[in-house]
């Protein structure tokens, strides 16, 4: 009888009912496709696309360079794409951090009106199309773009520079689109920073550099870590930026996966690549959750 149920029991039922729709949604639209992908990644590619229903573990070996020894020799081409993607995502994280960290301090110290205005400016790019914003960089960076034209006209260079279709161009584009993602978590932790702690440190004889290293940096670290995760994960799998600013020259994981599904029609290999990307993300998220969980435990104990 419902009336005999304890209050805690009723709470539990209530909670379960409230969570049911979202649980169902995730089961159908998230776990389902994920299961399909896991299964696909372990099957052999069909001759003209699709899959053959035989167990085939070499998709994963192929990523590392050791494919089916019956057909292929060691070739780390995919591994190098994987490593390059990690590198570009890493550089993106570092560059956005270098830009956002000081900026967060500047904005946090402004008066409320200017602060809100600056925060509005940072969210402004979300109102326009990502593709359009990236193509503007093409106009700026290409051989006959603004930068090269200006440098040629002033005589600084005699031949146009290779600005576009390089790793650098990709990092630039990534930084450009991911700055808001880095800024927001960093800003949240910087704004929370208790400046009397900084004063206490100075008062106890620590100079500005030591105060930064021992007090400011550790206290804003959660924001930096959060921003790094939020930027690194989409940067690793991003395929729009390499497609627009990397041209056909620079391949990243995102493009490779897209290619496997849409042009090469090797779904199992594409699935295996996607699983690899996801496992990297899961490891990072796990570390982040454990680390912030420990911080949370420190804070509440």
């Amino acid at each position: 009888m419902a009336s005999e149920m304890s209050l805690a029991g009723r709470r539990r039922v209530q909670l379960a009912l409230l969570l049911a729709p979202v649980t169902l949604f995730f089961a159908v639209f998230f776990l389902g496709p994920l299961a399909i992908m896991i299964v696909t990644s372990l099957l052999a590619p069909g001759l003209y696309g699709g899959v053959e229903w035989t167990y085939y573990p070499h998709n994963y070996g192929r990523i590392l360079g050791f494919a089916d020894p019956a057909f292929e020799v060691f070739d780390p081409v995919y591994l190098s794409i994987f490593l390059r993607s990690l590198k570009i995502a890493g550089f993106t994280v570092i560059a956005t951090m270098v830009v956002c960290y000081p900026a967060a301090f500047c904005i946090a110290r402004l008066s409320e009106r200017w602060r809100n205005f600056c925060l509005f400016l940072i969210t402004l790019p979300f109102f326009t199309s990502l593709i359009v914003r990236l193509f503007i960089w093409v106009l700026i960076l290409r051989q006959t773009g603004i930068v090269n034209e200006a440098l040629l006209a002033t005589g600084v260079i005699t031949r146009p520079l290779e600005l576009i279709y390089t790793d650098g161009a990709i990092v630039l584009g990534m930084v450009y689109i991911f700055i808001p993602f880095m800024f927001m978590p960093i800003y949240a932790s910087v704004e929370k920073l208790d400046w009397t702690l900084v004063r206490a440190s100075l008062d106890l004889g620590a100079g500005p550099v030591r105060t930064f290293v021992r007090i400011i940096l550790p206290l804003t670290a959660p924001g930096i870590a959060g921003g790094a995760i939020i930027v690194f994960i989409p940067a690793l799998g991003n395929f729009v930026v390499p497609a627009v600013l990397g041209g056909a020259k620079v391949m990243m994981l995102g493009n490779l996966i897209e290619q496997q599904f849409l042009s090469a029609r090797n779904w199992p290999f594409g699935s295996a690549l996607a699983m690899m990307v996801m496992s990297v993300m899961l490891v990072l998220l796990f570390i982040h959750v454990v680390a912030s969980g420990r911080r949370g435990a420190d804070a509440t104990n």
Binding site: R199, L202, D203
Partner: protein, 364 residues
């Protein structure tokens, strides 16, 4: 020259307000703090006491004037190069460090070896009654314990001067009172000067060797707690420190005559003084007539009697309509009963307890 640990010469500071005006926080202050002295800066909020403290610790740069600490000019030195430590109002403990790391921070910064540092941390924590708490986190401690850690952290490097910025204001009353005694004991044990900022006059009187009463960026009076209370230099000090009955009038041969017919007897301590003055009678200096010889008195009509534990507070007014407050010890219950019935009281006072404030002291 006086051998003072801190010397301020004409310290001046003006802050702009958001409305585009400016407010004077320090109005050319001169101050000497002696070695091993417990000095309290007392005043209402906005009187400049915190600014003065921050000028000494280095967080506020003076517009004019000099600050010497132990004879060395520190006016332009940054906070981290001054031999001064502060106990902050909200403790300001580093949340990401343990109690031990917090306490030893000044030593760590100074490059003291770890083993030596840990010994000193243990000694400092022992001194504030927190022995063995090194491994705790600040958030695991109660407010009083956090306060003690902040204190241990500030004294561990043996500064020449300890500044305390309303450190007890967040504690409850009993804890505050025991901390007051402990602070005073600690100060005499350490043998370093303390400058203590508070707006609580009771706190100031309890702990200090000397009290500086501040208002409007100026030191109104700098004296021992007893003199501050018994002989306030002006009516601001008289009314800010303790409750007071002030009667302004004309001095006339041992009497102060108010315009509306009240006469206050006083001992002619100002000689054959004449002119305008204010007479101060503290509430506890009144007693109920009939118990002594022929003391001068004021007849008042009683409005309210409030029991506050150790005493009764009697609020009334004279026939001329002047408010009078008196404090009658609770031991005198029988008198209080009579007064309550009659709604009238004859409040006597000892003329030697009447303090005169000359009106020129108030700048009138």
């Amino acid at each position: 020259m006086r051998d003072s640990i801190v010397r301020l010469e004409g310290a001046a500071k003006t802050f702009p307000t958001p409305e585009g005006q400016s407010v004077i926080a320090l109005d050319k202050i001169d101050l000497d703090v002696d070695r091993n002295e417990f000095l309290t800066l007392l005043g209402p909020s906005g009187c400049g006491k915190t600014t003065l403290l921050q000028a000494i610790s280095g967080f506020v740069e003076l517009d004019a004037g000099r600050i010497l600490i132990d004879g060395v000019d520190m006016t332009t030195r940054p906070p981290y190069r001054r031999p001064v430590n502060t106990v902050f109002q909200n403790y300001a403990l580093f949340p990401h460090m343990t109690v031990g790391e917090n306490t030893g921070y000044a030593l760590e910064v100074a490059g003291v070896a770890k083993s030596d540092r840990m010994k000193q941390v243990a000694a400092a924590l022992d001194m504030v009654g927190l022995a063995g708490m090194e491994g705790r986190r600040p958030r695991q401690l109660s407010g009083g314990q956090q306060q003690r850690v902040a204190l241990a952290r500030a004294i561990i490097a043996r500064p020449k001067l300890l500044l305390l910025d309303e450190p007890l204001s967040a504690l409850d009353k009993n804890l505050r009172q025991s901390m007051q005694i402990e602070l005073k004991t600690l100060q005499s044990e350490l043998g370093i000067s303390f400058i203590f900022v508070t707006h609580d006059q009771q706190e100031a009187l309890t702990m200090s060797d000397r009290v500086a009463v501040l208002s409007g960026g100026r030191i109104q009076q700098l004296d021992t707690p007893r003199n501050i209370y018994d002989r306030p230099a002006n009516s601001f000090v008289a009314t800010f420190v303790g409750a007071s009955n002030l009667f302004d009038g004309q001095l006339d041969d041992g009497w102060l005559l108010t315009g509306d017919g009240i006469a206050i007897r006083h001992l002619p301590s100002l000689g054959k003084a004449s002119g305008k003055a204010k007479a101060l009678i503290r509430p506890e200096q009144f007693f109920i007539a009939g118990e002594g010889r022929d003391y001068p008195f004021l007849d008042v009509e009683v409005e309210q009697i409030v029991f506050v534990g150790a005493s009764f507070e009697l609020f009334g007014h004279t026939a001329e309509g002047r408010k009078v407050v008196a404090e009658i010890p609770a031991g005198r219950r029988s008198f209080i009963g009579e007064v309550e019935q009659a709604k009238k009281a004859r409040l006597s006072y000892d003329p030697s307890a009447v303090h005169l404030i000359r009106c020129d002291a108030d700048g009138i």
